[in-house]
Chain length 130, copies 2
């Protein structure tokens, strides 16, 4: 930790170009496996992905368990601490939406964010437990 500043604290967790993309995959795309993250369109390298998954796990943002149906696979999921990142991601999406109209954001998402942001966050969070 570089200081007692909450922004600095948060950046120590996800202040890089890749970590939040993995969390995005977990939250919005319901991805679970190493190969899922690897196939995301930004093209993360295998060693970076491995490093970030380890870091996220040791930081208590995600957890993993052996996938019983196929034991070579590990199934990743968000911890409660990870799930509380939903509001941060939502605000980032809304910020981006203001400055680039060509991004992949469903109209429904923007509408819901405008009419009831808290409910939108709650709905996204609740879906993670299903």
């Amino acid at each position: 930790m570089r200081s007692d500043c909450p922004i600095s604290f948060a950046l120590d967790y996800f202040g890089d170009k890749w970590t939040l993309l993995i969390i995005r995959d977990l939250i919005f795309d319901r991805k679970k496996f190493y190969s899922d993250f690897l196939n995301s369109k930004e093209g993360i390298a295998t060693n970076i992905l491995s490093n970030r998954l380890k870091k996220l796990e040791s930081n208590g943002i995600i957890e993993s368990k052996v996938y019983e149906k196929l034991k070579t696979k590990k199934e990743y999921s968000l911890t409660p601490k990870g799930k509380t990142l939903v509001p941060v991601l939502v605000e980032m999406i809304l910020w981006s939406a203001q400055y680039n109209g060509d991004l992949a954001i469903p109209q429904e998402f923007l509408h819901k964010a405008k009419t009831g942001k808290d409910q939108l966050v709650a709905a996204i969070t609740a879906r993670l437990d299903t």
Copy 2:
């Protein structure tokens, strides 16, 4: 831009360990000058600071003008695009507050965030124009 994902879009602006700290200084500490940012407790290096200020300016997040009282100084300020980052920073602060009780966050901030987040964001944003 790495993809049409809004999270990826946002990370292209501030997906690193330093950029958001400069924006934090501008928003919460009302800092204006190179030397102000340099003296922040995280200890940014001069070349990184210079690089990030340039990047923020070319990305339209901040702007700068010569400080008339002392022409060797440049006065930096947030553009409207930069000011709309307030909600993102607020959510990051609230996330951090949940997981570390020793951070420098005023009680009043947390109270206001709980009772009326939108008003808090509006108040912080409005203050930037004074």
